[in-house]
């Protein structure tokens, strides 16, 4: 008896590649069948498919698979913990009074997009380095200011992601690996620095944040002690957040966590109320906590040799950049950022949109945000209107990841863990790009957010990265 005879005794379960009607015919007969939405590897690009073959070939292929398992292990083992607050100047490595950190991969002043320029000029005025926009523009162009990506300084920033010396920052530590991550406080919606707004209203708010709210929050956290952020994000996912574009639950949970200690601080009731209102009136307060959580979760995978897991995805409004764990922190693979497909606020359309911007897709890199879209039915209309679409997006991400989260679970997927550890090789193989849930900035500085929607990293980033892997390792 051969295995073919064993097949004769089993229930036939069919997978169909190609002509879809063969699959439909099986469905009509109530036969178990799955249709594969097959596409040629690497979109039929022979050169790229060749790199993929080389990298998959034993023994390298096995080394890569093992390295990726190690990356998954480290990501899942992370213990992101909020330990307190400080100012950027005190805490962030390499920060100087004339340093301005920005979102995304490295970019020069000349190539910066409108919102980032606006935020840079705003940051210079806020720090007192320039009196007005004219001075700020001249100073920014003078070469006296050091521009550097947040990602080079254990930091992340939403949208323009501008961090200046005196700004207060949340301080996150990954207790499992001892590495830090920092992020500013979220300013709220509307006219805000991260969207490039740079007028008096913006400066006034930034000053209140530094002088009024920060001291209260810093002390509240000192009283409270460390906060396990992983558990909090896991809870937020159960409550309808995906921790990138929807942060209502996370914000509420965070306030509940610190409320008693905040009220116990030494400040006047008025100041405490102001600080509390600042957190409470902004649904996105939690975004600037979930981002450094993700940042400190991902950074420990950088030193794993032959690891093809995507360690960073970010954008500066001009370029989208990714970094691959096994190629190290200095190797950026960039391509022009894409325009976000989405829903625009009344009065705006795609013509107003700046290309994709911000470090916030560190959330997707870590397996939440768009990857957990099925957890946030309230915002699925951004993706086309139906809960099933969100479920499909989240499900599709399992095709390009190394594993699944043991903590960040999605109720709508029967509490399946979210897809974790984007594997460059799988992205190239399937042509499925990571899905990012994001806000849309106006292309001109000072206008602010004009919508929200979905975007992908450009294919070119992954093509360049796989070529670099093949050249470095074969």
């Amino acid at each position: 008896m051969s295995k073919v005879n064993e097949l004769f005794e089993k229930k036939l379960s069919v997978v169909n590649f190609g002509i879809e009607s063969f699959y439909q015919d099986l469905l009509k007969q109530n036969k178990p069948a799955i249709h594969v939405d097959w596409k040629p590897v690497a979109g039929g690009d022979k050169k790229i498919a060749g790199y993929l073959r080389k990298l998959r070939k034993p023994p390298l292929g096995e080394e890569i698979a093992q390295a990726n398992q190690e990356a998954l292990r480290r990501i899942l083992a992370a213990q992101p913990t909020l330990v307190g607050m400080s100012t950027a100047g005190e805490a962030i490595p390499g920060m100087t009074p004339t340093t301005i950190l920005h979102a995304g991969p490295p970019v020069t002043w000349e190539r910066m997009c409108g919102p980032v320029r606006g935020a840079v000029m705003g940051g210079l005025i806020y720090e007192g380095l320039a009196k007005n926009l004219e001075e700020a523009e001249a100073l920014a162009a003078s070469g006296k200011i050091t521009f550097s990506p947040c990602h080079h300084h254990d930091a992340v920033g939403p949208m323009a992601g501008v961090v200046t010396y005196s700004m207060p920052v949340w301080h996150m530590v990954n207790k499992a690996f001892g590495n830090d991550a920092y992020c500013t406080m979220n300013e709220g919606l509307g006219k805000v620095l991260r969207f490039g707004a740079c007028d008096q209203e913006v400066f006034d708010r930034l000053h209140r944040m530094r002088d009024v709210y920060y001291p209260v929050l810093k002390q509240a956290l000192e009283r409270h002690g460390e906060i396990d952020m992983k558990v909090m994000i896991a809870q937020a996912l159960q409550m309808g957040d995906e921790a990138h574009n929807r942060n209502k639950a996370g914000t509420s949970l965070f306030i509940r966590e610190i409320l008693s200690d905040l009220l116990d601080t030494d400040f006047s009731m008025e100041q405490k109320q102001a600080a509390l209102s600042f957190l409470n009136n902004n649904d996105h307060t939690f975004l600037n906590l979930s981002m450094p959580v993700c940042k400190c979760t991902m950074d420990p995978i950088f030193d794993i040799p032959h690891c093809t897991v995507v360690a960073t995805m970010c954008r500066n409004g001009t370029d989208f950049g990714i970094r691959i764990a096994g190629l190290g922190k200095d190797a950026w693979f960039t391509a022009p950022a894409e325009i976000v497909k989405g829903l625009y606020f009344p009065g705006f359309d795609e013509a107003d949109a700046n290309p994709d911007l911000g470090d916030s897709c560190i959330t997707e890199t870590t397996g939440i945000g768009g990857f957990c879209m099925a957890a946030a039915p309230a915002i699925v209309q951004f993706v086309g209107g139906q809960v099933q679409d969100a479920i499909n997006y989240s499900t599709q991400m399992y095709e390009i990841t190394v594993g699944e989260s043991n903590t960040y679970k999605i109720p709508a997927l029967d509490f399946r863990g979210g897809a974790v550890g984007i594997d460059l090789l799988k992205v190239v193989e399937t042509g499925i790009r990571p899905i990012i849930n994001t806000g849309i900035a106006h292309k001109d500085y000072g206008v602010g957010q004009v919508g929200a929607g979905l975007v992908h990293p450009p294919e070119e980033c992954f093509r360049k990265a796989i070529e670099a892997c093949a050249q470095a390792w074969t």
Binding site: F17, G18, P32, L343, G451
Partner: protein
């Protein structure tokens, strides 16, 4: 005018409201509209687009508001009505089920997958098939343009793991009563088939069903399996499985005549298996078959008759006649022939099934001598430019051959090109008989008889206008259980004026009877 309606303490999520804002803005007489909760952001937007009119100050974050700049009060009421309509609309779920992009993804959904049907473009087929085999999944490879080297590599690897590779270019299989790709709803039974030909397998299995027999398994091998290069790897694997299959009592092998060396191996293996075996090497020499005590079939139909007889424990006899009886067939043929003009003397066989076309030519070549074709029996009878040129004398065309499928689906899926050709042939005054097949079942067009019967009517009318009578002889390859229904399809063709025979062999013999009478 700028109008405002506020509803206190009503909550709707912001994304819904953004979509509604966009929709109501398209209403006539509406210049600008904003529907939302009175959040700071929305209030700021309202200011900016000039909608923060009278009463707007009192809107709070807990209030739902509709603000619009419109031409009249009536326009605003239309806006409010539209907003209510959209808020209350229940979305019909039209989101599609999830389809994974890779085999790995499919296996996560169903780890028990044990058969892959692959019809991707040939140049990618090897990798897809190899990946399936590596996951211990049997393969039915419908794709063509797979190289011999690739086929051999796949089959050798599969054989080493005792997995099936049915194909490449395999259109038909029925495994565990599941018809795959182009296959029919055939009764379950004790006849096991291994076939190197798609429509040949369909014809035999359908006739078995019509004769009251049934199929245990129908395995395909692809047309090249019995060539020397491949060596019959899958025919031997399939044969071995059926020999050991307790549900299979009778074996039936269908193929074009294989290389002698391979044929000997296969026949030896079948003879050693000890189960009654019918062998249909279409148009091949019966000697090697019969000397091993196996039963040689003279046609696909005959293979079905013999297999069913053996399954019933009867002694099989050659079937070369007509189900309606020889005499009635001759009378009918005479009646058809009598209506033709002198000069009408040729047959044009127009086929969607390649093996049926091949079988018909082999049944007729003895009397006709030469048959032009795009799949000629003799190289010198090759009809050049078959698709766009014209037929000559006796011509048989396989519409499933490469020339006809460039940039088109297979004619069993899209039979329109063949239907057009029926009409084209009718215009040729030398044509006496158009001989056609009509393959139904899963995989095939949802109603090929409909398309074909229209063409038959038009063709007959065209000939009649020019004073000729055009005979159309047809057979339907299918079963009563097929979605298109055998009798329904036969009826459609008969109603269009075709003479419908129960098998391709009978249809071919009937066409010959007409020609004999001209």
């Amino acid at each position: 005018m700028v109008k405002l309606e506020v509803r206190k303490n009503a909550y709707f999520d912001s994304v819904t409201l953004m979509i509604i804002s966009k929709d109501v803005k398209k209403l006539p007489g509406v210049k600008e509209a904003l529907v939302g909760m009175g959040t700071d952001l929305n209030r700021e937007i309202a200011e900016k687009i000039g909608l923060a009119g009278e009463g707007f100050d009192s809107v709070t974050a807990n209030d739902f508001f509709v603000a619009a700049e419109c031409d009249s009060e009536a326009d605003f009421q239309a806006v409010v009505a539209k907003v209510d309509e959209l808020l209350n609309k229940k979305a019909e779920s039209k989101a599609a089920a999830y389809t994974p992009p890779t085999l790995e993804g499919a296996l996560k959904i169903d780890p028990n997958i044990n058969m892959a049907v692959i019809s991707v473009p040939g140049k990618y087929a090897y990798e897809v098939a190899q990946n399936c085999l590596e996951h211990d999944i049997n393969v039915m490879l419908f794709s063509d343009n797979v190289t011999l080297e690739e086929e051999k590599a796949l089959k050798e690897y599969a054989a080493s793991k005792e997995l099936l590779v049915m194909g490449p270019d395999c259109g038909t299989a029925i495994v565990n009563n599941t018809p795959l790709a182009f296959a029919n709803v055939v009764r379950s039974g004790d006849i096991g088939m291994v076939c190197a030909s798609g429509t040949g397998a369909q014809e035999v299995s359908n006739l078995i069903d019509q004769l009251g027999g049934g199929i245990s398994q129908l395995l395909g091998t692809g047309g090249r399996d019995l060539k020397l290069d491949i060596g019959g790897i899958m025919m031997r694997l399939g044969l071995d499985a059926l020999i050991h299959d307790p549900k299979t009592k009778v074996l039936t092998l269908v193929s074009k005549p294989p290389a002698a060396e391979i044929a000997a191996q296969i026949l030896d293996q079948a003879a050693a298996g000890g189960k009654p075996t019918v062998v249909c090497f279409i148009g091949g020499d019966p000697t090697e078959i019969e000397k091993r005590g196996l039963y040689a079939a003279v046609s696909l139909e005959d293979a079905a008759h013999k297999a069913v007889a053996l399954s019933r424990g009867e002694t099989p006899e050659d079937f070369t006649g007509f189900a309606m009886g020889q005499q009635q067939a001759e009378e009918l043929a005479s009646a058809e022939a009598a209506r033709m003009l002198p000069g009408q003397k040729y047959v044009r066989g127009l086929y969607t099934g390649g093996t049926l076309c091949d079988e018909a030519m082999k049944l007729m070549i003895g009397k006709l001598g030469h048959i032009w074709s795009n799949i000629p029996l003799h190289p010198e009878d090759l009809l050049e430019n078959a698709r766009n040129g014209s037929s000559k004398e006796h011509t048989f065309l396989d519409f499933g051959d490469d020339e006809f499928t460039v940039g088109r689906p297979h004619p069993m899926i899209d039979p329109s090109l063949r239907a057009e050709r029926v009409i084209t042939e009718a215009a040729d005054p030398g044509v006496a008989v158009v001989l056609v097949d009509c393959v139904i079942g899963y995989g095939s067009h949802e109603d090929p008889a409909q398309d074909l019967s229209q063409a038959i009517r038009t063709a007959k009318e065209l000939a009649a206008k020019e004073g000729r009578y055009l005979a159309v002889v047809a057979s339907v390859c299918g079963t009563e259980g097929d979605p298109q229904s055998l009798s329904g399809s036969q009826m459609k063709l008969a109603n269009a004026g075709a003479v419908v025979l129960p098998s391709n062999a009978q249809a071919t013999r009937f066409a010959q009877l007409i020609l004999d009478r001209l």
